[in-house]
Symmetry: C2
Subunit: 350 residues, 2 copies
Amino acid sequence: MKKEYLGEWLLPGGPHSDIILSSRIRLARNIKTFPFLTRSTREIQEKIREMVREVLTENGLLKKGSFFTNEELSPLKLQFLLERHLIPLDFLGSRMHRGLYVSKDETLSILINEEDHLRLQVLTSGLNFFPAYEKIEKLDNRLAEKLPYAFSSELGFLTACPTNVGTGMRASFFIHLPGLVITKEIEKILRSLLAMGLVARGIYGEGSETKGNLFQISNQITLGLTETEILEKVTKVGEEILNYERRAQEFLLKNLRLSVEDKIYRAYATLKNARLLTSEETINLLLMVRFGIVAELIKDVDLKTINTLLILTKPANLQIYYNKEMSPKERDEKRAELVRSFLKDRGNGR
Amino acid sequence: MKKEYLGEWLLPGGPHSDIILSSRIRLARNIKTFPFLTRSTREIQEKIREMVREVLTENGLLKKGSFFTNEELSPLKLQFLLERHLIPLDFLGSRMHRGLYVSKDETLSILINEEDHLRLQVLTSGLNFFPAYEKIEKLDNRLAEKLPYAFSSELGFLTACPTNVGTGMRASFFIHLPGLVITKEIEKILRSLLAMGLVARGIYGEGSETKGNLFQISNQITLGLTETEILEKVTKVGEEILNYERRAQEFLLKNLRLSVEDKIYRAYATLKNARLLTSEETINLLLMVRFGIVAELIKDVDLKTINTLLILTKPANLQIYYNKEMSPKERDEKRAELVRSFLKDRGNGR
């Protein structure tokens, strides 16, 4: 992982990536020769970690990425990984022996001893679950050759938490919904998700808050449906929300154009001129500019730049980018500097 | 008065006009053959107005400016004159027969039947009372030749309100104090003024609120001092506050530079990019940019442009500029358009 490198999954390119930033699939797996982590000792945790590390080495995967134990990761580095969506919120601050594998392009990662012995994750740009599933299935099959998975012919894959039993699969996507948020239709959409067995979460997964107008939407049910059925369902819901969002944007640009333009041009101007920017304000301004690009009001900056800034301006990424530990005040200064340097020599947004 | 014309007194040029926008002297005068206005009939008011109009005509002054009766001024035009500091707040909405003379360059005006029969006013750029006094004294002497002033050898000029008896003179200046406001020293300064017989008011005179960081400071005492003594005193106080302000600005630029730069560059960027601007926000942003110019942080726009915008963006001036009555929402749009057109093709403030 390079400090200035950004996972390929965050670079626009996938289908509908103007609104759906990325899709993610994760599989929960356990090794049947070991007890679930809730009943494991630290010795067992270490054994699991070493076993997986060995398999990854044998498979040649270690050459294509990096392996870390949580003991060797500083709090700053953990925060950095969280901000890049490579680990979930509850990976931080655990006393368990944990491990993490991340591929060089940051699209594939394996968590060891998080809630389950293994969590495989694939990230991809846009709404694009089927290619992602091919990739994760291939990885899963390779690991299954060496690791005896806990599997019941009746229930499917067995997991620490019953909500994951069956496929052990969670499919989610990050979606940017400024139109639905501004028109206040978002509440209705989020309520209807629940009825379809899906749920909206904050961008750092379970337990994290929803911020600005960026949402993570994922399936809740893992049992009773095949992997393909789950992915088809989540894809369909993604496409539906996408259409609602496009209609809300059209409505806004037709009926409240001036007020939308005002918000967007102010946000862009502020990003290009501020000398101090907090993390929170930066996210909101970047997302407003992102909307401006999608709405074709801003044409001299691209989604790649904004997606990149969304990650690099986060506290730990910023410090690692500048290779310097910084106080919040110093960060606000450097954050504004970074944003200006990425947006400089651009016009006034018309 | 032209809609796009701005009184010469508001164009920088006078001493210290970076901080003290303008100086104003007004003289209260009454005609001894008529009762004070508190006891006047509408017939008497009309007689006074016609008498003054005749004298102005005889003197050739009417050729050098315009004369209006309050009956012929629409509420919009009255508001326009108030915003340009040519009439005070309480000139609006009166049932008295009143009159107004304004010279073409908007530096000299005469109010008829406001609180006193006559109020002469001279405005000038910067802190520059003595040339202004020469001008108003000359006008006063010319009028005194034809109009029998109410004068007591013991008390001086007699006025409707005892606070104006004596010289009948009020000397005031508009001062922009961002440094003292940001450093919160302003309260101390305003308190000390009172002890010296001066008072700070809102920019539209008595009864108007102080807005942003622009103040009008004037003498309270008119009796027991000569005109020269009053002007010397007010000038001295002006110079003192000026020095406090310069020191506060130096302090800010030395110790809180980043935060000041942040505020200034954001304000400038917002003015150049907003599509909707309320009157209140515009004043605050313009005054912040004005500070940026004085502090030499913004170099591609001049004080004249900002001073002009401070007037032209006010509700009535805006409507008269565009020659169109507008709702508040339409005004916000046109205001933003006007500001952008004055500031366009300028750089990023560096």
